[in-house]
Assembly symmetry: C2
Homo-oligomer: 137 residues x 2
DNA sequence: AAACAACTGCAATCGTAGTGCATTTATTTC
DNA sequence: GAAATAAATGCACTACGATTGCAGTTGTTT
């Protein structure tokens, strides 16, 4: 359990029982999860508390939010490079239209995009929809 | 006005007064628009009818939906290549965090992305957030 | 003109995001 | 260690976009 505490402190997030539970849940996931996913999986938790816990995590660079086009925001743990100063990981996200799961593809980096003159980039997100390797079989 | 009618018929969309009004509005926009935008701009229109009109347009490859991360779906006219069989245009979308407008960048094509083994791509979307050329000044 | 299909508009529902506030828990200060 | 203060939590409630059901309307076909 010390590992979880270390991860929170490392990002300057105060330790609470709730946050440890949420982080514990997140590290066990292989997919991005929604608030509803968390709410259903974690007993006796309040949705708003989850909402704010995850928001805190996001602000401190511990998780990132993923918009997979379903209209429901999902969350996943960040790579270590993300800090309170910003999310520095530029990986692709994949949404499987069959199993409806959303994965991070850390090995697929978002390529450079040429913007029209005068435009300034601050964030980039790339979402691929299709069939994941499991559903493709 | 014949031009608008032609565009609908070309995509096998039945002509109605409502649809002509919606299409007329869309061709005049330089940004992607939300249902609420349309609702406020077009007098005496019902949100649901707009919803269904745009949905029909989308299904017939006349408009595409854009998820700009704001949680509100936006719509914009497609390039001619889009048909009832799918949307074939792979341009980048840009969301300006200052003016909060969303543009299509037809000249910025989405680069090829290498997926992990076994994954099958069906759609790709790329969103850049930052400052548009107007707001950068 | 009757029959049918397509379209429209109102009412209502659903689900997620988000806020306000009172209570609890943790931390600091004396 | 107790009071004061700050942070975190949980409940109630609001806001809003997306979507469906259904009845009424319009348009088409025969």
């Amino acid at each position: 359990m010390k590992e979880l505490e270390r991860r929170l402190l490392e990002k300057q997030i105060n330790l609470t029982a709730m946050r440890l539970v949420v982080l514990d849940y997140l590290v066990k996931q292989t997919n991005a999860v929604s608030l509803t996913d968390m709410e259903l999986s974690l007993e006796k938790t309040d949705r708003v508390t989850l909402y704010r816990s995850v928001k805190t995590f996001e602000e401190h660079g511990l998780v990132h939010r993923i918009d997979d086009g379903t209209g429901v925001t999902k969350f996943a743990l960040c790579q270590p490079a993300c800090t309170i100063d910003g999310h520095h990981d530029l990986h692709v996200h994949f949404y499987c239209i069959n199993c409806q799961e959303t994965h991070c593809l850390p090995k697929a980096q978002i390529p450079e995009v040429k913007l029209p003159c005068g435009y300034e980039r601050q964030e980039t997100s790339l979402l691929v929809k299709g069939l994941c390797s499991e559903c493709k079989k």
